[in-house]
């Protein structure tokens, strides 16, 4: 027992060794989770399409992801004859490296004291965490462009260039979504941003910056090349895009890089807007935990609805959603160094489900529609949000009561959201009217009468 303490104490006081151990743990966890996320994606998309999904390999298809990995490993590693060899090898490495580097700043849990030293549950507690994401995300763009160029294939080149253009356009939206939160918090350190949302669900920044949340949410899809923004890799458009010529392990690296990117983005949005590793329970208004009550009501309601549709769910399926909702209370009873990662995991799974759901439900953007959307619609909205947030923060000032600033920001944010919604619906109604009635002509993009 004594020697274990000695080893741990040495570990805690030795930052390099500690970082290596943390890297091992995080890498192991993420690489272990990716096959099951691949399986969950195929399963959920299948269910939305009224079919069962992979169910041959293990019970419920559990081993499918691992088997996919083995298959990719054993495939023939083909290099197209006239490609640029060095760049061909380099591209997947850049993509995967950028994706994994992003993992190093995500806080997975609260910091704790051990052997007289504060141990953070982040691989590196960078004070400029948010900036690091943008810097490293740029490396990912390099990887995709180089992959498209080095393949000696016109389709890949087009796919790579389109992906590069899309990624750099939506990095602006990403930044504008985050800036509102940064102005409220005043620091770039992701752990501190999480900590300032520790008061339960009503302290989360999604209520104070709903427009920022929406913009980060949309840019998240564009940054990971995920439907509705997946033109660079859409199979029916470009036969595979920038990773057409890749096979075996290199393709597995691209594939894994995409999923790790999704995991990173999901963790980021939960850190910035949804409280990170903090639990949503805990805000008490007049002594009652409203979110807890809401969860219990949701559990009962989902059981009732599922029981009415019993035929589709089976005798066990009716209990799954209520059990999950009620079980989320149980996470809070774990020790804090376990509850933190558990909440990060739960929030990540929720966002992965939303990613997968959007892929199954939405059609793809055309490339010019994509660029229009990023530059002409999201950028102005982001600037308006930025300006409004800055004005409110300046006007409220540091001396007001602690509820004034969040309330004012929430009012502004939701008002802007309502304006966006009505404006876009009116635009769509006008364009539909022009399309379906004679003699009505409108200008192409702004839909103003000619």
């Amino acid at each position: 027992m004594q020697s274990v303490h000695e080893v741990l104490s040495w570990l805690v006081h030795n930052p390099v060794a500690l970082a290596l151990v943390k890297i091992g743990v995080v890498l192991g966890a993420v690489l272990g989770v990716v096959p099951f996320i691949i399986l969950w994606e195929r399963k959920l998309i299948a269910w939305i399409q009224c079919r069962p999904g992979p169910n041959r390999v293990g019970p419920w298809g559990i081993l499918q992801g691992i088997v996919d990995g083995v298959k990719l490993f054993l495939k023939e590693d083909y290099i197209p004859p006239f490609s640029e060899k060095f760049l061909f090898y380099l591209a997947p490495i850049l993509v995967v490296a950028a994706a994994f580097l992003n993992l190093s700043i995500i806080p997975f849990g609260p910091s704790f004291e051990a052997y007289g030293q504060t141990v953070y549950m982040t691989i590196t507690d960078l004070d400029l965490g948010v900036l690091f994401i943008f810097a490293v995300g740029g490396l990912g763009v390099y990887g995709i462009t180089i992959a498209g160029y080095a393949s000696n294939n016109k389709y890949s080149l087009l796919g790579g260039l389109r992906a590069a253009a899309q990624l750099i356009s939506y990095e602006l939206t990403l930044g504008l979504g985050i800036i509102g939160v940064l102005m409220i918090v005043g620091t770039l350190n992701l752990r501190e941003i999480s900590d300032m949302q520790g008061a339960g669900i009503f302290g989360w920044y999604v209520w104070q910056q709903p427009v920022g949340f929406l913009m980060f949410f949309i840019a998240m899809f564009a940054e990971t090349n995920r439907l509705p923004f997946d033109l660079p890799e859409g199979e029916s458009e470009l036969t595979g895009g920038y990773h057409t010529e890749y096979s075996s392990m290199k393709f597995a690296l691209f594939f894994m890089g995409e999923y790790v990117n999704m995991i990173v983005m999901a963790c980021l949005i939960s850190v910035l807007f949804l409280g990170g590793y903090h639990s949503p329970f805990g805000t008490k208004i007049a002594g009652i935990d409203l979110w807890g009550v809401a969860t219990v009501i949701a559990a009962i309601a989902s059981y009732v609805v599922a029981a009415r549709l019993r035929g589709s769910f089976g005798y066990i399926g009716v209990f799954v959603l209520p059990a999950l909702l009620l079980g989320s209370f149980a996470i809070d009873f774990l020790p804090p160094w376990l509850a933190g990662p558990a909440w990060v995991f739960v929030k990540m799974i929720v966002f992965m489900t939303i990613f997968i759901w959007a892929r199954a439900a939405l059609p793809r953007f055309r490339f010019d529609q994509l660029m229009d959307f990023g530059w002409k619609i999201l950028l102005p909205i982001g600037l308006v949000n930025l300006f409004g947030t800055a004005v409110i923060i300046a006007v409220v000032g540091p001396d007001a009561a602690s509820w004034v600033k969040p309330a004012a920001l929430a009012v502004f944010g939701f008002a802007l959201l309502a304006v966006i919604e009505t404006g876009s619906t009116n635009w769509r109604r006008k364009s539909m009217r022009a399309k379906y009635s004679r003699g009505v002509k409108l200008q192409p993009f702004t839909n103003k009468p000619v």
Binding site: L44, W47, I48, Q49, C50, R51, P52, N55, L214, A306, L309, G311, S312, F313, W357, A358, A360, A361, L362, L417, I420, E421, S424, T425, W427, R428
Partner: protein
């Protein structure tokens, strides 16, 4: 726009709790209709005599020339079939057969019928030349439980069955 996107996504999600339309073969097999044209069967009479008399009308009508037939005189003491001849060698090359059912329609003895068996995959081409011993019904099966006319018209409702019209 946001509410419309959300409505669209909810409509898609509703399908997760609707029943799946997939039939999980091979644990669950789809029911075939009674006139399904599967692998051929050579039927027998109730007393065990084969119906096939080796007339080779099926071989003549087959569009793919998939049937090979050698006839032999029946031994009067030990008849195999109910007529004068029987088919000594009867082979159908299942890889040439197009499963059209003309042989079944041409047979005057109601001997060859197309049965319900469709799981015919093998690992070698030789195994797909169906021999007589594969196709002939076992003795205890006896009388083929579908007469040809009944089989071919079983999907027509009784009210529409004109009865006297030959196919």
């Amino acid at each position: 726009m946001l509410t419309q996107i959300a409505t669209g996504m909810w409509t898609a999600l509703k399908h997760t709790w609707k029943p799946r339309v997939t039939i999980e073969y091979p644990e669950v097999k789809k029911e075939r209709p009674p006139f399904f044209r599967g692998r051929h069967r050579l039927q027998r009479y109730e007393d065990g005599l084969e119906r096939c008399v080796g007339c080779a009308l099926c071989a003549a009508v087959c569009p793919s020339e998939a049937i090979y037939l050698e006839a032999e005189e029946n031994d009067p003491n030990n008849p195999v079939s109910a007529g004068e001849r029987y088919a000594k060698v009867y082979q159908i090359h299942l890889l040439r057969c197009i499963f059209c059912g003309f042989c079944e329609e041409a047979c005057p003895e109601d001997a060859i019928v197309m049965g319900p068996s469709y799981e015919l995959a093998t690992y070698s081409r030789g195994a797909l030349i169906a021999d007589k011993n594969l196709m002939v019904d076992p003795v205890e099966k006896g009388f083929g439980h579908w007469k040809k006319e009944e089989r071919l018209r079983s999907h027509i409702e009784p009210a529409l069955d004109t009865g006297s019209v030959k196919r």
